[in-house]
């Protein structure tokens, strides 16, 4: 269906080709996953299928790409529109019209299908993707998962033979991601569609793939094989594979189910070494707790409404907002932040209701919940961008927020200029920010343009800029969007270190693996209310969609991450018969 003949792509002005030696064939009706670290040219390979590379992006394509027998050299993207459906990373930039129904019809209108056919296919697609209730809604009012489904639906209606998707689930919460993936699987199984997709969050998609094309590093030819073969050598792999590698299972398990079947032995070994594994209070978890029980979410909440001036009106908050950076000692709060009965409204919509939270120094809190549950609003309220409609927010010091799009924080042309500006903004000693950058991001030259940094580097630069003001409370909104596993691991180390230095950290995230790895405490939000609040192990273990893979595999033992399992296995077993 898709055939790459020794394809290499060199963009204009680039010294070396972005991808080389791409030479494989994707048969009809397969779901092929394109995996690899960031910056290896996954999007470029996807672009060659739809013809956007090189017709739209420029650059030179050597070799030949054929899709359903059509050579992309002689066919422009618009002439491939009836065989290839493409959905890019950001569904919002994909929409041409503004209601769901019109959007589904747009592609067919361009192809000139008869009205009766269009009508039928729109109805079919609405049902297939579960969009019937949203048909006349303006697209801008939909949630992220709904938008992603509309985007997929809009390229499905012309009945393309090939679907090309770039990170279809990265922006989605776990439930919405599963929804989208279930639809893709149905298309492949029932309609024989061929799907080529790139995705960083392998734990979500690897189980659906028939084959994986791995781009191990920039400029190396891809390796194509079954998921188990490829994952054995891949530099990026999901936790289920990490656990499989650790336990030495061959072939490697790709699904939680596969892994569970083999895990009996591993569970036994863990039990031998750790007598409290069953209660999920293993030493491994203790390591992750902040020093000496400073983080006691449930009790702090109910026991001592200890806290500060009950001034429910907005005045004190306003003042705090203006003083945020300038006064070193704002209203004295014993905690980095204390939220009492907070409510926030956007227009008619109540975005947050009855939120009561107390944050502790050195604690890492993960805010989770659906797209649109109010996570970002809560962060914005903590930093003072959004004024509460009721209740109070008291912070114990400076607050720093790294927004969802870290680029928004960066204005200057070079890293050095950015650092100078950050020092001036924060009133810090000159060089503070640059020292932070060198510490967090070694080897980035002064004259690099922030735009030329990778996604992970840009996030770290924004983090350094925010840290320059020495916030006692650090907020991060979706920090792992678009990060590969290596960048994520660096972020985890970094944030842990900051927490041990006493920063309180709040992350809003959809990434259950990140929360499991990093957070001491998880707060689940739904429709603006807190529905669960407690230590990570307790909250995520009991939730089917927020439980990390390792938890699911090793249940009923309560392990969260591969690192914990590794640490436990490294210990001496309690019994004498050591497996040496």
């Amino acid at each position: 269906m898709i055939r790459f003949d020794d394809v290499s792509v060199t963009y204009d002005g680039a010294a070396e080709p972005t991808v080389t030696g791409v030479d494989f064939e994707i048969p009809e009706g397969e779901l092929v996953l394109l995996a690899g670290p960031s910056g290896v040219g996954k999007s470029t390979v996807l672009g060659t299928v739809s013809g956007l590379v090189p017709h739209f992006t420029g650059g030179t394509l050597r070799g030949r790409v054929t899709v359903a027998g059509r050579d992309t050299r002689t066919h422009k993207p618009r002439e491939l529109a009836d065989v290839v459906g493409t959905v890019g990373q950001d569904p919002l930039s994909h929409f041409v019209t503004d209601t769901v129904e019109d959007e589904l019809a747009y592609g067919m209108e361009s192809l000139g299908l008869p009205p009766a056919v269009m009508r039928r296919r729109v109805e079919e697609t609405l049902d297939l993707l579960g969009l019937a209730d949203l048909r006349s809604r303006p697209i801008a009012t939909l949630s992220g998962g709904q938008q992603q489904r509309v985007a997929i639906g809009s390229v499905l209606t012309p009945h393309p033979k090939v679907l090309v998707l770039d990170e279809p689930t990265s922006a989605l919460d776990p439930a919405a991601a599963e929804e989208v993936l279930a639809v893709l699987q149905r298309l492949v199984h029932d309609l024989g569609a061929t799907v080529l997709m790139a995705e960083h969050r392998l734990e979500r998609v690897v189980q659906y793939a028939d084959q994986i094309a791995l781009l191990p590093s920039p400029g190396t030819p891809p390796i194509l094989g079954t998921p188990a073969e490829v994952m054995a050598v891949s530099p990026v792999y999901p936790p289920v594979v990490a656990l499989g590698r650790l336990a030495g299972w061959t072939p490697l398990p790709m699904t939680v189910r596969d892994a569970r079947r083999r895990a009996a032995d591993l569970r036994q070994r863990l039990e031998d070494r750790d007598d409290i594994a069953l209660q999920g209070r293993g030493a491994a978890i203790d390591v992750r707790l902040p020093p000496r029980g400073r983080d006691q979410p449930q009790r702090t909440r109910s026991r001592q409404p200890s806290t500060p001036p009950e001034l429910p009106d907005e005045k004190p908050i306003r003042r705090r907002r203006f003083r945020r950076r300038h006064t070193p000692t704002p209203p004295p709060s014993p905690h980095p932040a204390d939220v009492q009965d907070l409510a926030v409204t956007h227009g008619h919509i109540q975005a947050l209701r009855n939120i009561t939270l107390t944050l502790t120094p050195g604690g890492i809190l993960a805010l989770m919940g659906r797209n649109g549950a109010g996570k970002s609003t809560l962060l914005n309220t903590l930093v003072g961008l959004v004024a509460p409609a009721a209740g109070s927010v008291t912070v114990g010091g400076a607050v720093g927020l790294v927004p969802q799009e870290p680029r928004d924080l960066l204005y200057a042309d070079t890293v050095a200029a950015e650092c100078t500006a950050a020092d001036a903004d924060a009133g810090a000693a000159p060089g503070t920010c640059r020292t932070l950058v060198s510490e967090l991001l070694p080897g980035v030259p002064d004259d690099t343009h922030p735009r030329d940094l990778s996604e992970g580097q840009r996030l770290t630069l924004a983090l350094a800029v925010v840290l320059t003001a020495r916030p006692s409370l650090l907020l991060l909104d979706e920090p792992t969007r678009g990060l590969d596993y290596a960048a994520k691991a660096r972020l985890v180390t970094l944030l842990r270190e900051l927490a041990t230095r006493g920063h309180a950290i709040v992350l809003a995230t959809h990434d259950v693996e990140l929360a499991a790895e990093l957070a001491h405490r998880v707060v689940l939000l739904a429709e603006g209310e807190v529905i669960a609040d407690g230590p990570t192990a307790e909250v995520v273990v009991s939730s089917p969609s927020f439980a990390p893979q390792v938890t699911k595999i090793l249940a009923p033992q309560q392990w969260l991450t591969v690192t914990q399992v590794k640490a436990a296995l490294a210990r001496e077993p309690r019994s004498e018969e050591s497996p040496s």
Binding site: P77, G88, E101, D102, S110, P115
Partner: protein, 375 residues
């Protein structure tokens, strides 16, 4: 009781469900209605009539507008209209006006200007007459703007696109995409200003805006490129193969027709061209339309559920046209009522039957209130 009433509905009538498919009224009808009200506004300077026109359109907008983002642009148009009035007044204050007035309200210090700026005055006497003239004039312009805003709010421009002839469709899409550019730009500015506040920088003032400007434009440009790529990949701009002869005929007809329209209009407007003006104009129009319809052959596009032009559309258009016609007629028959006197200063009176005619414009509020039912 209620049930028996419900059963009396004819079987074929669709039940008013929450997910009513789409507003039934053709967007063209809304545009014609609004533009007719606008035309009516240009015929008069009577502030009472103009206020009545504004009220009429505002009432219809409140009753009929769908709950879409473009519908919310109405307030923006109202603000723009207020700004226009304010600017017009400030100019009248500062630059004076040619209207001779006797009621001096205040005297501003006059700035002496060199001779070559003859006819321009800075400061000086401000009379009630000149201020009132500016107010009437500004109000007329404001009414026009508000009417356009009403059209915008009632009928999404992109829905109007569906009714465009095939040959013009691609240009139409480009225009609509350009129109959506502005709201996106505003959203970007807001986001970046919030980000500036995060860094503890002033988010107001010229400097704040200037520093946000570059990233905003950058982001908007990137998004436009992404959208263009998406549109290309979805078949935007696919053309059918047409024989070269047809293509050449299309070009000849369109260009010739447009030239004819220009020449004809010129003839109509100049005194000596009275004889050939109209025929040339008509011939040009016919040729241009033929060119357009022939050009439509190149486009493969089909339409998905085009809005039908039905009786309600006729009535809505008709009500607007009636208002325009009535005021045009009144303006030629009773100019004094529609243009209240400034010198000497008199209080404007409400002319009865033109006012009644303006109220005809309320008809759509009772004909097409259904679009509100959209979720």
């Amino acid at each position: 009781m209620r049930r028996s009433r419900a059963q009396r509905h004819p079987v074929g009538a669709p039940a008013p469900t929450r997910h009513r498919p789409r507003p039934q009224l053709h967007p063209g009808a809304w545009w014609l209605w609004s533009l007719s009200l606008g035309t009516a506004a240009t015929r008069t300077t009577n502030p009472l009539l103009l206020s009545l026109l504004i009220t009429t359109s505002a009432y219809v907008v409140a009753a009929c507008r769908p709950d879409t983002p473009t519908a919310r642009s109405y307030t923006a148009f109202v603000r723009l209209a207020l700004a226009v009035i304010a600017i017009r007044l400030v100019f009248a204050l500062a630059l004076g006006s040619p209207i001779p007035g006797t009621h001096t309200l205040l005297t501003l210090p006059e700035v002496p200007l060199p001779d070559w700026t003859q006819g321009i005055r800075l400061g000086g006497r401000v009379t009630a007459e000149s201020l009132l003239a500016a107010l009437y004039d500004g109000l007329r312009l404001a009414t026009l703007l508000i009417c356009v805003g009403a059209a915008n709010a009632l009928a999404n421009p992109s829905r109007l696109l569906k009714s465009l002839p095939g040959a013009l469709y691609e240009i139409g899409v480009a225009v609509v995409v350009a129109l959506t550019f502005a709201p996106n730009l505003i959203a970007d500015v807001q986001r970046l200003r919030a980000a500036r506040r995060l860094r503890g920088r002033p988010d107001r003032g010229i400097r704040g805006l200037a520093q946000v400007g570059l990233p905003v434009l950058e982001g908007a440009l990137e998004r436009s490129v992404a959208l263009a790529a998406a549109m290309d990949a979805r078949g935007y701009g696919r053309t059918a193969d047409v024989p070269p002869a047809v293509r050449r005929t299309t070009t000849a007809l369109t260009l010739g027709g447009l030239l004819g329209v220009c020449a004809g209009t010129y003839g109509l407007l100049t005194a000596e061209g009275g004889t050939y003006g109209l025929p040339v104009l008509l011939a040009g129009l016919t040729a241009a339309l033929a060119g357009l319809s022939l050009g439509g052959r190149r486009s493969l596009r089909t339409r998905y559920r085009p809005d039908p032009w039905n009786l309600r559309a006729w009535l809505v258009t008709g009500s607007g046209a009636a208002v325009a016609a009535a005021l045009t007629f009144a303006a030629s028959h009773d100019p004094a009522a529609l243009h209240p006197g400034l010198v000497p200063l008199v209080a404007p009176a409400l002319p009865l039957w033109p006012a009644a005619a303006v109220l005809l414009g309320l008809l759509p509020a009772f004909l097409a209130p259904t679009s509100k039912e959209q979720p």
